[in-house]
Symmetry: C2
Subunit: 355 residues, 2 copies
Amino acid sequence: RSMATAARQSLKIGMLPADGIGREVLPAARAAIIALGSSIPKPEFIDLAAGFELFTKTGTALPDETVSILQNECDCALFGAVSSPSRKVVGYSSPIVALRKKMDLYANIRPVASVAATAGGKPDVDLVVIRENTECLYIKQETLQQGEFGKEARATRLITERASRRIGDMAFKTALSRPRKHVTIIHKSNVLSVTDGLFRETVRAVPALPEVNGRYDQITIAEQLVDSAVYRLFREPHIFDVMVAPNLYGDILSDAAAALVGSLGLVPSINAGDSFVMGEPVHGSAPDIAGQDIANPLAAMRSAALMLRHLGYGEGADRIEKAVDEVIREGNVLTPDLGGKSKTSEVVNEVVKRI
Amino acid sequence: RSMATAARQSLKIGMLPADGIGREVLPAARAAIIALGSSIPKPEFIDLAAGFELFTKTGTALPDETVSILQNECDCALFGAVSSPSRKVVGYSSPIVALRKKMDLYANIRPVASVAATAGGKPDVDLVVIRENTECLYIKQETLQQGEFGKEARATRLITERASRRIGDMAFKTALSRPRKHVTIIHKSNVLSVTDGLFRETVRAVPALPEVNGRYDQITIAEQLVDSAVYRLFREPHIFDVMVAPNLYGDILSDAAAALVGSLGLVPSINAGDSFVMGEPVHGSAPDIAGQDIANPLAAMRSAALMLRHLGYGEGADRIEKAVDEVIREGNVLTPDLGGKSKTSEVVNEVVKRI
Ligand SMILES: CC(C)[C@H](C(=O)O)[C@@H](O)C(=O)O
Ligand SMILES: CC(C)[C@H](C(=O)O)[C@@H](O)C(=O)O
């Protein structure tokens, strides 16, 4: 859906680099957007604080001010990546998970496609993972108690009809815009007959909803158990077009798909709600390579493109995406994760000069 | 641990082919065991009913009689594969999940190793997934209720200290018997800080337990978030030796690993408890190829070997495994999943004549 119904004077973009290489790739996304010049409304970047490092300094990973500026002043946002504590840290909670929830960004859209046979990548991948982004085990309702044989921890996994329906609708809508028009529903209802049963049945029922009005009739539907989906993703990635999944399966599947195209450093995403969109590279904060100017900026640049497309600036998005694809295809200026020897900044320059 | 402390006169093996190709591969496992001749106690096979097809006929997927014969008369068992209903079926519940629980087979041990570069397989995989087998979302405590916006389904995910400790111990014990002696703990504690936090901390603490008495001191420990583990499994499978995981992650990871070695039809497992062991190929019932005599029997034959090794018959296990490996390496008689043209029965004959 396009959110650019009213013509904007400027585009206010909240920038949340957060941790590690998040701080190196968000400037790349920024450079790509600036390079579009006047073909989009004048971008205004608003730097916002969030992240694990912020937590270690201030005791909060997601300040209220950040959320309120996003909600009240920004048109959209870009998120970098967040570090995970290597030991239990009392009071810490992932800011990206919280943001998705607080802003009701219910769809995590992660397109994964091979451009060229990059280092170890498979050539025939062209799919998009549509991940439910607000529930499943990510509601983080957990309890700990002392039982007869020691500690017992429990987490609640929530699947609702409402969330399954809207993510299902997003999947079908996405499929409609793609040549193959095929949706695969991912679940594990052979074990979770109630929760995944509800997800599966609700998504399957979307095309028959009266308000859909037959729009999805040309779309073919398949389903796969999540374990089998990961297996087939490795063996026969070409069978997948749009994959729609509950939150945790979507998390795992999108990383699995990223492996197929050669690097997590290539895979973008948006977190989309009905009135806000936040771009986010799928990769993490990669503390092992942070600060060395070797992080792959392409996922972040592509995330900016996805965000722009979602806002209705398809032409700007195309320009960024074409430039990125060209740089990958040429293969001369790539970061080490793709077998190259170039710096982040060199890759950014290569892309920007093509935009 | 060897369960063959008291010399047995005979080996009573419960045979549960269940559904689909389960019925074609269990006879292969049986043939491999028989081929061992007098090097193991005389096998006695006891056919037992279970499965989805049984459910459709009788209303029960796992008769009490099956469980009681397993518990009271059998030394061990072999399970084939179970079909999953393609729509919600009231009253149906997976017999394999129930069996693991009822028999307290708390460890699902799934070794995955490349023998030769079989069709699409990677050459450098040699790992074992140690999957917790009794809890996580597999406790199947689910509820369904009507909420403000439609149906709401909830499932409980249980992680206990006791189960995490014993699966951790199994992982370290397994690592001790392997050249690399390396354990990777799989979790998602950046989101599930309580449940996966408990799993991670409990497994990590196993080497320091007083009763362990320093036995695991040479073992190195790493950890990976489950999404990142799947990614790295595709990209750098050689970094993994023993992977220990809660139930659902283990389910997904073992399928992912199976994809790396060319076919699910190659990957065996045992479900092991302190006093019983049940072999089970990792593949499913594959209704699409059932009845055609083209199912790969090697996973089932290897599962028989794993079961025998667990019972203390390592020499018998070696003979079956060597024969299987030879047939794969020669590559002349393989089923279609491995790019071959042979029938199940032909592959079985090839293996049996080498045992
Ligand atoms: C950092 C983590 C909480 C996050 C998730 O699990 O959603 C990440 O893995 C992702 O995929 O965006
Ligand atoms: C059939 C199904 C319940 C089972 C599981 O999820 O454990 C299967 O996928 C497996 O891995 O053995």
